[in-house]
């Protein structure tokens, strides 16, 4: 949340660190690429690719952020996405695209509800529950697909899917306008961060050139993020979500329906995963049973890279998206620079930690508590013991 007017804080590493990390990475890669005489790295197409590649993880990550903010945890997203993709691909042929999408999302929502209900009302630890559903839902996918890949035969359904997933939306004009608007409001309402964002976007757009267009999922991600950002930042819902995650007992005694909000988070996370699954299935009108396996860790990593707390009460969806972009910029960079595959893992790991370090250290220096790891200024709520 950056809506107070003290510049040092807003542009301080702690608040804006992850943005810096991304920019540094982008420009480093661009430099290397040009030094190696490769085609310009910051080309419209490449930026578009990065955004496109990050879109699914981004969508799930945004929902996961809300989840983490409420202090819960969802490992089942990847499986749920695969399931909804399977439902979509399995049904689209017979009942048509739109109904199939609807069915897929409902399935996802149902699983989210199940997760939430078990966690909230049976009271089992979210980790083990969603780990269970991770396995069970993946199993369900195997059962539904009979262990084989499914595909949509019907050509016009296929066409619809492609239209839904692969249409490329020209963004040059839109981008220019957006950055203009951002700059405008920034100047008008004195929102420095917004101004900076406007500038960056403008610069990148100009770099990308007039032909700049991105695939639909990027737009979906942008819209979803925008909604969630507004919801969290400016509405009572967001306030309550943060309160629930920050101190559930206090939230409860402030008359917030903790159960409802936690349940809501579970459903949201699953539906978002479901939507990601729909996009994934629509990408090629086909789905294989192992699709998206292991993506959950990437999703959570994106959120945490974005500075979301694993313990609830803090987090920002925009930063999560940046986190996702960071991760995919990295792999994209490896591919473009044709870096020895054996070294990619090593470097990726190091960069991830380094990126996290940038704002953690920055953040600490600002607060000047190196030992924050073990100084909780006030007694932790009694309930902590309960999770035993």
């Amino acid at each position: 949340m950056t809506r107070t007017d003290d510049l040092p804080r807003i542009f301080g590493l702690r608040e804006a660190g992850v943005y810096y990390a991304l920019l540094i990475l982008l420009f480093a890669l661009a430099a290397i690429a040009s030094s190696r005489g490769l085609p310009p790295y910051l080309s419209g197409q490449n930026l578009g690719n990065i955004a496109y590649q990050a879109s699914l993880i981004g969508i799930m990550g945004v929902a996961m952020t809300v989840m983490l903010i409420t202090g819960a945890f969802d490992l089942s997203v990847a499986s749920v996405a695969a399931l909804s993709a399977a439902v979509l691909v399995g049904l689209a042929g017979s009942i048509g695209f739109v109904p199939a999408v609807f069915a897929a999302l409902c399935t996802a929502a149902a699983i989210g509800l199940l997760n939430g209900a078990i966690v909230q009302f049976v009271g089992i630890n979210a980790f083990i529950v969603t780990l269970g559903t991770l396995t069970a839902v993946r199993g369900l996918v195997l059962v539904l697909t009979g262990g084989r890949s499914l595909m949509v035969e019907d050509p016009d359904v296929l066409a619809q899917m492609l239209a839904f997933e692969s249409t490329r939306v020209p963004l040059f004009i839109a981008g220019i306008l957006l950055s203009a608007v951002l700059l405008g409001t920034a100047v008008w309402k004195r929102r420095p961060l917004m101004g900076a964002a406007g500038l960056c976007i403008g610069a990148l757009i100009l770099l990308a050139g007039p032909g700049f267009a991105v695939a639909a999922p990027v737009i979906y991600l942008a819209i979803f993020t925008l909604i969630m950002w507004a919801l969290l930042g400016f509405t009572t819902i967001g306030r309550r979500l943060y309160a629930v995650g920050g101190n559930a007992e206090a939230a409860r005694l402030s008359g917030i329906n903790v159960h409802a909000y936690k349940l809501g988070a579970f459903v949201l996370s699953s539906v978002a995963a479901g939507f990601a699954g729909v996009l994934f299935g629509s990408r090629l009108g086909a789905i294989n049973p192992t699709a998206l396996q292991g993506a959950e860790l990437t999703v959570i990593a994106a959120a945490i890279l974005g500075g979301t707390s694993l313990f609830g009460g803090a987090g920002s969806v925009v930063k999560t998206v940046i986190g996702a972009l960071l991760l995919f910029t990295l792999t994209n960079g490896f591919n473009v620079l044709n870096l020895g595959a054996n070294y990619q893992g090593l470097i990726e790991g190091i960069v991830v930690v380094a990126a996290a370090a940038i704002y953690t250290v920055g953040g600490q220096r600002r607060v000047g508590k190196p030992k924050r790891a073990d100084t909780a200024p006030d007694a932790p709520p009694v309930s902590e013991g309960a999770s035993a």
Binding site: R3, T4, F234, T235, T236, I237, G238, R239, R240, Y242, A243, G246, N247, E249, A250, A251, R252, L253, S254, G255, I256, N257, A260, S309, G313, A314, V367, G368, K369, P377, D378, A379, P380, P381, V382, S383, E384, G385, A386, A388
Partner: protein, 505 residues
């Protein structure tokens, strides 16, 4: 004991927090063995900071500390503990997942974990405190009063030469306080230990301490023998202004209409069926000892106790059994455990205060007006005199009392129709307490019905119209403030039997 070498001597100790707050601006303090030294000051004066410094929990920014004459620089809590300083912190740091016994033994150095003699020894210490808890209870399962007693036992078990107590009695009731007083006297008089005692209760200070140091804005503004002082003088020095002592509230001529009807509200194992009504502008006090079920009653009324039964009606309309319905209906509860139940640590003052209004205006989605929120917060800061850099400071960076004020401020809205206060003045300084009580009285005069749980019977007598006395989870009687004295009340509440708090079978 050699009197001329003080046990502990601080000179010119300063502390500036990273966020710029100057908590201590040069404090001198000398502590003699065998004496009880009172440390007083308004909320945010710097008492806890000072204590954290001399217990090694915080590093001072300047000044020097001498222990038994030689200079020491304590940067980690180990050193002072080994030197012989035991500290009871204001925020009662305990490990919720360990038993009371384990918590008490936490700083012991032995290798084996469960030694019979340990259990024996600690058992005796706890016995001397009147068994406020069972050695095998999980700290996390105990109410705040019991946790306070654990940390006292912890400090005593170490056998230190200097016992530092930061508001040890803030969340205790009559009986437990008495045992704490007796303990302190025993330590000082018989065992010749030095005690540094922080409290906002002037009667305690007068009764217990041999000398007092008073802090204001991080400076020691007064150091004198207690004998040479009187409550009024101390109060003035603390607040830096004259304090109007609370006169008793004159019973209001015409009793208003009944607003709140509590009908057979009960909670299995904790609270026997309880019924009473609350009138327009009435302040109903609830007296009781630790574990007598006052908080349970509050929670039951507020719909915060899932097992509670019975009905609560506000202006004739029945209120649902969930907190959100209760709050929407206009009930407001200030809980007893500010850290555990009161505020959201990650949120700044404005947002914490904002939670109240937000919940009261229903579950719907609305835009939060940051400016408005900020204005409310600034209001509260002014109204309750919260000591803070501004409305955007984190609650965790406030002093204990100021944090408590934030929790109270949360419900001082015009949508509140019944105010439930559970130990609202815990840890609040004398000046602010008077202000808050006057504020509550004022609200009542404007017609707001209030239920006030307090272990400060003086407080109850001062501002309540009626007082219910609870023991072992049931209401055992009612007292009229005008013909009841503090001692009567204490007797009623203590009720002879000293059985540890527990459920009525």
């Amino acid at each position: 004991m050699v009197r001329d070498v003080p046990l502990l001597a601080l000179s010119g100790v300063t502390k500036t927090f990273p966020n710029g707050t100057v908590a201590l601006a040069g404090v001198d303090l000398t502590i003699q063995p065998g004496r009880v030294h009172g440390l007083l000051g308004a909320n945010g004066a710097g008492k806890s900071t000072l204590i954290k410094i001399l217990s090694g929990a915080l590093a001072p920014t300047g000044g020097d500390i001498r222990w038994r004459g030689e200079r020491v620089s304590w940067t980690r809590p180990q050193a002072p503990r080994e030197a012989g300083v035991a500290t009871i912190y204001q925020h009662i740091p305990l490990v919720p997942t360990l038993t009371a016994l384990e918590n008490i033994l936490l700083d012991q150095r032995a290798f084996l974990r469960h030694r019979a003699d340990d259990r024996q020894r600690i058992g005796d210490v706890v016995a001397s405190l009147g068994h406020p808890f069972d050695l095998d209870d999980l700290a996390g399962d105990l109410p705040i009063g019991a946790r306070q007693m654990i940390s006292i036992a912890q400090a005593l078990a170490g056998g230190a030469d200097l016992v530092v107590m930061d508001e040890p009695t803030a969340s205790l009731a009559g009986d437990e306080r008495q045992t704490v007083y007796d303990t302190i006297r025993r330590l000082a008089r018989e065992e010749g230990k030095a005690i540094l005692f922080v409290s906002h209760f002037l009667d305690e200070i007068m009764a217990l301490t041999d000398e007092v140091t008073i802090l204001r804005d991080g400076r020691a503004v007064l150091h004198a023998e207690t004998a040479d002082l009187d409550e009024a003088r101390i109060a003035e020095t603390i607040a830096g202004r004259a304090i109007t002592a609370l006169g008793r509230r004159k019973t209001r001529s015409e009793p208003g209409p009944v607003r709140l009807e509590v009908d057979a509200v009960a909670s299995p194992g904790k609270l026997a069926p309880t019924s009473f009504t609350l009138r327009q502008g009435e302040i109903l006090g609830i007296a009781g000892v630790l574990g007598s079920g006052r908080s349970e009653l509050m929670h039951a009324i507020f719909g915060a106790d899932a097992h509670a039964t019975g009905t609560v009606r506000l202006d004739g309309a029945e209120i649902g059994r969930y907190t959100d319905e209760a709050v929407a209906a206009g009930l407001a509860l200030v809980p007893e455990d500010r850290a555990g139940q009161g505020f959201v640590p990650q949120m700044d003052i404005a947002r914490n205060v904002g939670l109240g209004v937000m919940a009261q205006s229903g579950a719907g989605v609305r835009r939060v007006d940051a400016k408005d929120e900020r204005r409310c917060a600034e209001n509260a800061i002014r109204r309750l005199g919260i000591k803070t850099p501004g409305p955007h400071a984190l609650v965790t960076e406030l002093s204990g009392g100021n944090a408590q004020k934030v929790v109270v401020a949360k419900w001082l809205t015009d949508r509140t129709r019944v105010l439930l206060l559970d130990e609202p003045t815990a840890g609040i300084d004398i000046g602010a307490r008077t202000d808050i009580l006057l504020l509550v009285r004022g609200l009542a005069d404007e017609g707001l019905p209030v239920i006030l749980v307090s272990s400060e019977f003086e407080e109850l007598l001062a501002i309540c119209d009626r007082i219910l006395v609870m023991r072992d989870g049931r209401v055992i009687g009612e007292a009229d403030p005008n013909e009841t004295s503090e001692t009567d009340l204490t007797l009623m509440a203590g009720g002879g039997d000293r059985a540890p708090a527990g459920a009525p079978a």
